[in-house]
Amino acid sequence: MTLGRKTALYLAVVVILLWSLLPLVWMLVVALLPADNLNSRPVNLDLSKLDLGGFAARFGDGSFRNAMLHSFIIASATTLACLLIGSLAGYSLARIRFSGKSLFMGAALATQMIPGVILLIPIFLVFRQLGLTDSMLGLVLLYSAFLLPYSIWLLRGFFEEVPIALEQAARLDGCSRVGALFRIIIPVAAPGLAATAIFLYISTWNEFLFALVLTLQNSKTATVALAEIQGQIFGAQDYTALATAAVLVILPPVLIAVLLNRYLVRSLAESAVKG
């Protein structure tokens, strides 16, 4: 590689990194710097006196803490439900011969083309009637339904990759089909399940519109709490509160994506390549 080409390459890499990360870094700066520094023109980026008071205030805010807890519960429950129900369905589609499979998969995937808001309007009415608004159970049910088609499609692909001889050996040893699923196939396909779980957890944690319409105090999620703080900004002008809340809402998915990157990229790239 020539020197000029190498310089251009590294320059491009720096631009990509700045573009990807600078917005988040600036948010951290607003969260940590005293207001006076940010108000001065030109801006005073003296990083020697960072102020953790904003984060302390966030952690002291019971409503925000509860919202983070709700999101944690809802995302965990949705992930588990989709993995379990999705594994059963995925195994059925991958390994059992019967008719109607493509009809099921076609109908399930077709629902993914339909804008979520179409679904939300009747759900809003039904939940009002049934008293299901502002319940974590209601949201878990909704999110599971929304994410199941994708989970099944992914899991079916991962199960198909497991050598059929493994399953046959287990069945010769007297294992039932469902037993083989839980004892052989799921353990062998564990990296695929991990990838699916990461995707499910992040999608659920990040969802906003359904949570905004369907939750109040008892099941308010982290994104809804962040939107409330964002809404107060015009009156309170409390940018530290906004930045610290946003950092805390962003942190869990980013940590998961970074720490479990290996599995994530596998699921995103491979599922797309396999088609």
């Binding site: 059925s92 599971s144 930045a243």
Partner: protein, 312 residues
């Protein structure tokens, strides 16, 4: 005595495998049926009804009246072209930037693994939180963009990016592009890695320039992937809501209300449920037409449907 053919066929249809297969599929089918398919079908009916929430929901069939009302709803009439503008600009910027990012991240350099990982981070950020992130960048007094441009002497005065509707909707596009590039470039990169290096070597032996190699090897190799990325980005950006909710709340003066935002406003703020359902059908129609256009271009329907499933 042998059983009659019909009975035998029925028996075969409900053999052990079929029973087990259906039983394992049943929980998923029930949830998808009751929580997705039934509400979707209900929404179709709602679009042709006026629904009064004052008493217990009171439906009155009113034919196409809801759709006629759209013609007198300035919020919706402005939101439709705005959504199309928003999605078109987003798609163009995402495609151009993502091809560039993927090509760079496909080159060998020190720390490539780490850079690929860091470049994926915006994908995991909640669209709502991305709205807050870009709010803190574009906002007048605390905005990072004003702070940097002013400190560098590029602008003499702070610019109020979010109080001008034209600037604000384009600010939202930038936020959406930031959110969309990681997945798009990841998919393109995965495809790039599948293009045999031999092709490039052969082309170089034949004296092809860098541009010719891009034009005649890279682009044709990426064709399907690019159309799929276009499809994904179009569907998602036509339905933007969270980002704009955080960034502008539809303002200034409702100048950044996109179609999904208008539906939210009419349904859950104004409680005009039936009317909102008809608007939602319009959104679905736009998404469908845009998707079909891309699908016809790819002529690879099965594959593309699968990709749609990946992204939602």
């Amino acid at each position: 005595m042998s059983s009659p053919p019909i009975a035998r066929r029925l028996q075969r249809a409900f053999d052990a495998d079929t029973r087990l297969g259906l039983a394992l599929l049943a929980p998923a089918a029930l949830i998808i049926g009751f929580v997705l398919l039934v509400p979707i079908a209900t929404a179709l009916f709602m679009a042709f009804n006026s629904i009064n929430l004052q008493r217990s929901p009171n439906w009155t069939f009113n034919g196409l009246n809801n759709f006629a009302l759209i013609g007198r709803d300035d919020l919706a009439l402005a939101a439709i072209p705005r959504s199309i503008y928003f999605a078109s600009l987003t798609v163009v910027l995402v495609i151009v930037a993502s091809v560039g990012v993927a090509i760079v991240l496909n080159e060998p350099f020190r720390g490539r693994r780490l850079v690929r990982l860091l470049a994926l981070i915006p994908w995991s950020v909640a669209p709502l939180a991305a709205g807050s992130t870009w709010y803190l960048l574009f906002y007048y007094s605390y905005g990072g963009i004003n702070a940097v441009l002013y400190a560098l002497g590029i602008i003499p005065e702070y610019i109020s990016w979010l109080t001008d509707a034209t600037l604000a909707i384009n600010a939202a596009v930038i936020g959406q592009v930031w959110l969309s590039i990681p997945l798009a470039s990841l998919l393109i990169l995965a495809r790039l890695q599948g293009i045999p290096g031999m092709l490039y070597k052969a082309a170089m032996v034949d004296g092809a320039t860098a541009f010719q190699r891009f034009r005649y090897i890279t682009l044709p190799g990426l064709r399907t992937t690019l159309l799929i990325v276009i499809l994904i980005t179009t569907i998602i950006s036509l339905q933007t809501f969270d980002l704009i909710f955080a960034l502008t709340r539809g303002g200034p003066a409702l100048g950044t209300v996109v179609l999904n935002y208008a539906i939210y406003q009419r349904a859950f703020v104004d409680l005009r449920i039936g009317y909102a359902a008809s608007l939602a059908l319009i959104l679905f129609g736009i998404v469908l037409i845009a998707s079909l256009a891309v699908l016809i271009l790819t002529r690879q329907r099965r594959q593309a449907q699968a990709y749609v499933a990946v992204t939602e």
